[in-house]
């Protein structure tokens, strides 16, 4: 049984600040004690490097590192060798874009959306600049919803990469990846999915979705910073060039410049990995799987429905994504600049984000330069939403200045 009160007890940030409302979960999330303990255990009882078994701690840590890969593979429903550890979603997405440098050329098309996060669009801008491939945008309505029929029409043999977020970090819809994959499969084209906002919140089965690559970050799903994952189908990984070269990713090299790379996934993991990050991510994934991704999603949908219904009752609020599928809500208070709203809420001990949320083409869709974003997670409550709504109901250009007096 999903019991938010029990869940709250797992998080030191909540135990230490029970009245602080944290609605910035799309930016980063709190971490449970079990993750902190995994990191602590590494510092206190088994600090060592991996990939070598010369002594016991090194062997123990290497085995747990390996086991973490198994856990992530189970989480995604893929093979262990299809799980690449990276420093985060941004690194994963840049590694994925390496495909573009290798296989795209002038005349080819990269199809994406206007609601992408910078981390899933700038790497492809760079591919476009260097290969001459062009970027085109999938049609979306003003809430960012994709029209599958027009997507179908946009697909043709020139399109070599389709890349988009599973869930937009501003507009909160779950994109129909499985349906998109079915269409993409009719062409010689790969499908890259930015899962930074989906993996933490909904069940992801990469086999079922049939994606070629899928990226996400640990820190947005209760895990440590500085660690993330790139899933890639083994056929794709086998023909992908590493973005980073170095120790641990090669089996041999000789002074005449020959390099024999290790097998996938290690060939993509040059350098000492973020070991404590991997051990922490393992715990985070186990924690989320124990609670159940469906339970987490259900809870968030209930919170989201409640928040939207309450926001709609407020005259002073403009809501940009009333049909959101997940706990990400974008709005503004009429006449109040988003950052002023953010500061006002901060003074009421409510953490939200204001601005463009690194998705700087979203204004093309919603016709608004910047927004306030409230994003929820498994530990948020209905009472917190009540306090949030109460605070918002009193917000206007005059009260926004209260904090300065």
């Amino acid at each position: 049984m999903f019991d938010v009160n029990n869940i709250r007890k797992d998080f030191p940030m909540i135990v230490n600040n029970p009245n602080l409302i944290y609605f910035d979960n799309s930016a980063t999330t709190y971490k449970p004690y079990c993750v902190l303990n995994a990191v602590k255990d590494f510092y206190e009882n088994k600090t060592a490097n991996v990939h070598r078994g010369d002594y016991d701690n090194s062997f123990i840590v290497s085995s747990e590192f390996d086991e973490a890969r198994n856990v992530v593979a189970k989480f995604l429903n893929c093979d262990k060798n299809e799980v690449v550890f990276t420093s985060g979603a941004t690194h994963s997405l840049n590694q994925a874009a390496q495909y573009g440098f290798q296989y795209l050329e002038k005349g080819d098309v990269i199809l994406t959306t206007l609601s992408e996060h910078a981390s899933n669009i700038l790497p492809w801008f760079n591919v476009s600049k260097k290969t001459g491939a062009t970027i085109e945008y999938i049609k979306q309505d003003k809430e960012g919803i994709i029209d599958l029929e027009s997507f179908k029409k946009q697909m043709n043999s020139k399109v070599k990469v389709v890349t988009l977020a599973h869930v937009s970090n501003v507009l909160g819809h779950i994109n129909p990846i499985k349906e998109i994959a079915k269409i993409v499969r009719k062409f010689d084209c790969i499908l890259v999915v930015d899962g930074a906002q989906s993996a933490p919140h909904i069940k992801v089965d990469v086999k079922d979705l049939d994606v070629d690559m899928f990226a996400f970050s640990s820190h947005k799903m209760c895990g440590p910073d500085g660690i993330g994952v790139l899933y890639g189908k083994s056929e794709i990984l086998n023909k992908l060039e590493p973005l980073i070269y170095g120790g641990g990713s090669n089996a041999r090299f000789t002074s005449d410049g020959n390099i024999l790379l290790r097998e996938i996934p290690e060939r993509f993991e040059a350098g000492t990995p973020n070991i404590e990050g991997v051990l922490g991510l393992k715990k985070a994934v186990e924690y989320l799987m124990d609670i159940g991704m469906d339970n987490i999603h259900n809870h968030e949908v209930k919170l989201k429905d409640y928040m939207i219904s309450k926001l709609k009752e407020l005259d002073n609020v403009t809501l940009y994504n009333p049909s959101a599928d997940t706990g990400i809500i974008a709005f503004n208070v009429k006449g109040v600049f988003s950052q002023d709203s953010g500061s006002y809420l901060n003074n009421k001990k409510i953490c939200v984000r204001s601005g463009h949320h690194c998705a700087k083409m979203v204004p093309n869709l919603i016709n608004e330069n910047d927004t306030v974003r409230a994003s929820m997670y498994l530990y948020n409550t209905f009472e917190e939403i009540d306090r949030f709504i109460e605070a918002l109901s009193n917000l206007n250009i005059e009260s926004a200045l209260d904090i300065f007096f």
Partner: protein
């Protein structure tokens, strides 16, 4: 110091007035304008300030951009305060303003309406907003000086 400028209600009105009716808003074109564009990642503000400085006197200041109440109002106040001042006078005013935003001693008299920003330093994350336009102008002034040498 003008007693009215100690009254929170009045200070708040001053900010709102500058936010709702910013002075010297809208950029002009012409070679004579020196321009500085300020965009910071840590706030959303994106402000451009332009100015004409002739014979050591600030003849004109204009600004434009997307910004919060505090950035807009503080920049608007800055334009009103500094236009027609000599560079020396302007530098004294700027020093006092930055001191105030730093929680240090300052001369309230010469800051006039800009004292409305006096409590911003207590909201550390908003200090950037209250100084973005001022920093742009400071840069223009410094550049004009270094060119004169």
């Amino acid at each position: 110091m003008n007693n009215l400028l100690n009254d929170p209600a009045i200070l708040r009105d001053i900010i709102l007035d500058h936010y709702s009716y910013p002075r010297n808003k809208g950029l002009k074109t012409g070679d004579k304008y020196k321009e500085v564009h300020m965009a910071s990642e840590s706030c959303i503000d994106d402000i451009t300030v332009q100015s004409v400085i002739e014979d050591g006197v600030i003849k004109e200041i204009n600004f434009d951009g997307i910004a919060c109440t505090i950035s807009t109002a503080s920049t608007s106040m800055m334009t009103e305060l500094l236009i027609d001042k000599t560079i020396e006078e302007a530098k004294v005013i700027m020093d006092n303003y930055f001191s105030m935003l730093d929680g240090q001693a300052y001369d309230a008299e010469i800051l006039e309406e800009a004292v409305a920003m006096k409590n911003v330093y207590k909201q550390a994350n908003r200090i950037k907003c209250a100084t973005i336009g001022w920093n742009a102008m400071k840069q223009i002034v410094l550049e004009s000086e270094s060119k004169d040498e």
